[in-house]
Symmetry: C2
Subunit: 345 residues, 2 copies
């Protein structure tokens, strides 16, 4: 059965020029996929026609008359824009027309509308934002990256369960190792919530490695890194800022004078190999995990290559049945996740 992805074609900083180009390119390399581009019909149809893609027959347009602005308050977007491209794309997942949806729009609105329309999985209090980050040894999956500023120990456990299921499905790791982000490896460190979360993780059947520190993320110490959304968002944004500064400094040094510019020409293959290895576009696509449906958030400024990676992610989560795996894990460990109530087994 082909996988259909609903794309919020108006979302992001660039809209249709990026979303349409990326969608067609994705369809060309993924023969059993279809895409529904949601948004204003006329510009979307023109963009599809102009691209002259051999895969255009698997791209259709679904009309939506409104757009959610990047800085619109999520509550307003949820209440007022019932015919936004984002909302309609999510509706298509809800009614089963599409198996996943991808948007580069307003993160807060995407989370609010997804929760309202799709609801959370049984046993999950609130969805989290999960994303892969490059490490020395491969990748690690970190969550929550900004959806929940205050988390209970039980929520951190739920994030660990969902992150493990995601990594098991996508990376094929049977029992992914889970690290709890903290400020010291010793158990005495950290705040009360993190300490209690560590206890819950220890008594769960997850492969809990223990506490990890910020530098363990890029060391690749564990397959999954769990933290609250405030800490995770600061870690992610700080990384983005540092990487951009270092890239700028490197460019400046290689263009400081004519001799260095000449040198840079020879060094280009080396510098490009380095750049490809840590190209953030290859890691684009954060999963809104914990919903009864697959929703992937692309970076707002994504270009067509980056947006295509977000589409690949949504596709992989559909074919690898991530939602079923999470539900199975939650059912198997029903006791620790919902500590009150009788034991059913």
């Amino acid at each position: 059965m082909p996988i259909t992805i609903a794309v919020d074609a108006m979302g992001g900083d660039h809209g249709p020029p990026v979303t349409v180009a990326a969608s067609l390119r994705f369809l060309e390399e993924t023969p059993d996929a279809a895409i529904i581009l949601v948004g204003l019909e006329q510009p979307l149809n023109s963009a599809i026609a102009a691209a002259r893609s051999p895969a255009a027959s698997r791209a259709s347009v679904h009309a939506a008359s409104e757009m959610i602005e990047m800085h619109e308050a999520p509550a307003d977007a949820l209440r007022r824009k019932k015919d936004s491209s984002m909302r309609i794309a999510i509706n298509l997942v809800k009614d089963g027309t599409a198996q996943a949806c991808v948007s580069a729009g307003n993160t807060g609105a995407l989370m609010a509308i997804s929760r309202f329309v799709l609801k959370t999985l049984p046993g999950i209090d609130r969805p989290a934002i999960a994303s892969q980050l490059p490490t020395r040894t491969g990748v690690t999956t970190a969550l929550d990256l900004g959806a929940n500023v205050n988390c209970t120990p039980e929520q951190l456990l739920q994030f660990a369960v969902m992150g493990s299921a995601l990594v098991a499905a996508i990376d094929g790791i049977e029992r992914p190792s889970v690290g709890l982000l903290n400020i010291g490896e010793e158990e005495i460190k950290g705040n009360e919530i993190v300490k209690q979360a560590a206890e819950l993780l220890k008594s769960s059947d997850l492969n809990f490695h223990g506490n990890v520190e910020g530098d363990d993320i890029y060391k690749g110490t564990t397959d999954v890194v769990v933290c609250d959304g405030f800490v995770g968002n600061v870690a992610l944004k700080t990384s983005e800022g540092l990487a951009r500064m270092l890239a700028d400094f490197l460019r400046e040094e290689f263009t400081r004078n004519p001799l260095r510019k000449l040198l840079a020409l020879f060094a280009l293959p080396t510098l490009n190999a380095f750049r490809r290895r840590v190209d953030p576009r290859r890691y684009n696509g954060a999963t809104l995990i914990g919903l009864k449906g697959i929703v992937v958030k692309s970076h707002g400024g994504a270009d067509a290559l980056a947006f295509r990676y977000a589409l690949k992610k949504a596709y992989a989560e559909s074919t690898q049945r991530v939602l079923e795996r999470i539900e199975q894990r939650l059912a198997a460990m029903a006791v620790p996740v919902t500590p009150v109530g009788p034991v059913d087994a």
Copy 2:
């Protein structure tokens, strides 16, 4: 009057080989400074003699029979090791023999002993760890980087006051701009403590810029970035991990084959210029701020160059009278920092 710095000569991963070499080199370039090396007399005297430094006459040795291990529990170090090199160095600040102390030892123990021996400044609940970070435009001073996992809004305000005074003294910026680390620029985002801290900062006489996000640290958006110690420590460690990974990847690409190695030889001046610009050793030395005395923490793995930068920092804080400046600012804004109680002016 010469500035005397007490050095915990046994602290850190390397001990005397690094602390003595760095101290002598520092004295050679700082004619009005003196250093008291605290620790085991015999190895320290031999190290000084072996160095044959022209500045050796300004380095003296003060005996201490014990050492605090890097992973010793702070409470144990405080209670049991009354004659540790760290404790004696702090005592020398307390009794006025030295104007500042520098240690590369156990951070938790240094904080615990400093608080116990020196006490906090009036109006300061708990000291914070402050450090400079490189940015696109220069440097920014971030605090707290790990001393306080849970902070009240009032403490975050105190950090802002101390950070501003530190930057004013060291960088000569009259009214440093202050950013509050958060996960969105909009005022609606963030947790309750950060929101309340923003209100306190707004009604203070500090140059409050507003909320900043993780990437603003390296953009250099503000002169001071304030956050709780959990978030600050994660941001710092994450940055260290990312920078190390990128440096490794760059080295790997430039040594992948003989041709690239040859190229690297030509590119060496460029790569070194890049490396110097972001060399973490140049930013070594975190200030334990809020104490009635100057205490600078060097990175445990610091080499002699890095440790010398920590000594320079302690020296600059002494000559620029950072403590008096903080006290003046606290006195001038006594009302918002201690919101209960009558107004004295």
